[in-house]
């Protein structure tokens, strides 16, 4: 491990781009979903579970709203994954290991939620 090597500035630019993209996509999906629901007069609060997003019974508006939430929720997770890849390329093994632990924690979170 090259302990005195500076991390490249491009890491930050990539993370910034990723966060902005995730935010914009999720906000656009939520806005469209909201507009469709209001336009159709369907503004009833319906629980949307993560694993039911492809369920036929959901309206298009609810599905887009749920998808927007999912994209937003996945953005920080993809940020962790991106840094893991970038640090692997930099051979920063200590922090690759740490980021893998975070990924494991997030997988446990999804798995525990799914087995409710």
């Amino acid at each position: 491990m090259a302990s005195d090597t500076q991390a490249p500035a491009s890491d930050r630019k990539r993370v910034q781009f990723l966060l902005r993209s995730g935010l914009i996509v999720s906000m656009v999906l939520m806005t469209i979903g909201l507009v469709i629901n209001i336009n159709n007069g369907h503004i009833e609060s319906v629980p949307v579970a993560m694993f039911d997003l492809l369920n036929e019974s959901l309206t298009l508006g609810d599905r887009l709203l749920g998808l927007g939430v999912l994209v937003l929720a996945l953005t920080p997770a993809i940020r962790v994954l991106t840094l893991t890849i970038l640090w692997t390329r930099e051979k920063d093994w200590k922090f690759v290991g740490i980021s893998i632990l975070v990924i494991i924690a997030l997988i446990i979170s999804i798995t525990l939620g799914g087995h409710a």
Binding site: L34, D62, R79
Partner: protein, 290 residues
């Protein structure tokens, strides 16, 4: 629950207010979103918490992208503390499912009072954490491969600030606790992490605030996935709040430089006390309006 267009607009405005106030006093919007939804809109507290977690992720992603761009976020320190905070978030999310809404409301009220005291006792946190006005850039910030230390250019001091990170076990412990609170109450926990990093780990205040900001996104999703999978997410409530929070938070980062932080902190503390009292009354079964 049937919503109307004015109610959806009210949710957007409430989210914007939460994002604005949160950005102005340097905390996430969770402390405001949950009571507003529970007391103002009569939403079940667990659905309110799930909505708040979504708002916290939105706020963290919006401001995180700004702070990462300005080179103030220590990505390696954030990742290290995220290990503890994500496991804490899962623990909190799991506990919350089995804890009664009454207990959660009471805990929330206590948390608001503690935050109120912290805000009043902290010296000008807004000025110190107003990183948006910083001239620091991606190019001026440095992180060393394999280490937690870093540096950034501080335009206020007109010099490059180099720092090392100390007391990692303490920071990890506090991050775990912040994660539990996040899962249990739907807050970001930044108000605990920032002092832990700044005072306990000797990280510069600006870096602590920016790093905490990025971290709360991961903290929130670790418990959000539990709520999302269990059907506590009601997007028609969460989406307008999230949209409002993003708008409010982005506007708040520019407005922060024009308002007296001292007056703002006092106003915010007063709001917290009023809402905390209402939450206590609600947990005791006393009617507080809707």
């Amino acid at each position: 629950m049937i919503l109307s267009v004015p109610l959806v607009v009210a949710l957007v405005v409430s989210g914007a207010l939460a994002g604005l106030l949160g950005a102005l006093v340097g905390i996430g919007g969770g402390l405001i979103v949950v009571p507003v939804l529970v007391l103002g809109f009569g939403v079940d507290i667990k659905i309110a918490i799930a909505s708040s977690l979504i708002a916290v992720v939105a706020s963290s992603t919006a401001s995180g992208s700004v702070y990462v761009g300005k080179g103030l976020t220590n990505l390696r320190l954030g990742m290290l503390l995220e290990v503890a905070t994500t496991f804490g978030g899962i623990t909190g999310g799991l506990i919350a499912v089995y804890v009664s809404p009454t207990v959660i409301s009471a805990l929330f009220a206590v948390l608001m009072i503690v935050t109120c005291v912290l805000i009043l006792c902290t010296k000008d946190p807004v000025k110190k954490t107003a990183v948006s006005e910083s001239l620091a850039t991606v190019e001026t910030a440095k992180e060393t491969i394999g280490k937690l230390s870093g540096s950034y250019y501080d335009p206020y001091l007109k010099e490059e600030i180099q720092y090392d990170v100390q007391n990692v076990p303490l920071g990890s412990f506090v991050s775990f606790f912040a994660g539990v609170l996040s899962g249990l109450l739907g807050v970001g926990g930044g108000f605990i992490k920032v002092p832990a990093m700044a005072l306990g780990m000797k990280v510069p205040m600006k870096v602590a605030a920016a790093t905490s900001n990025l971290m709360i996104g991961v903290t929130a999703i670790s418990s959000l996935f539990v709520y999302f999978a269990r059907g506590y997410v009601q997007p028609i409530i969460a989406a307008p709040v999230a949209l409002g929070v993003v708008g409010g938070a982005l506007y708040g980062t520019t407005l922060a430089q024009k308002i007296s932080p001292k007056l703002l902190r006092k106003m915010f503390a007063a709001i917290l006390v009023i809402v905390a009292v209402q939450m206590v009354l609600k947990s005791l079964g006393v009617s507080v309006g809707k």
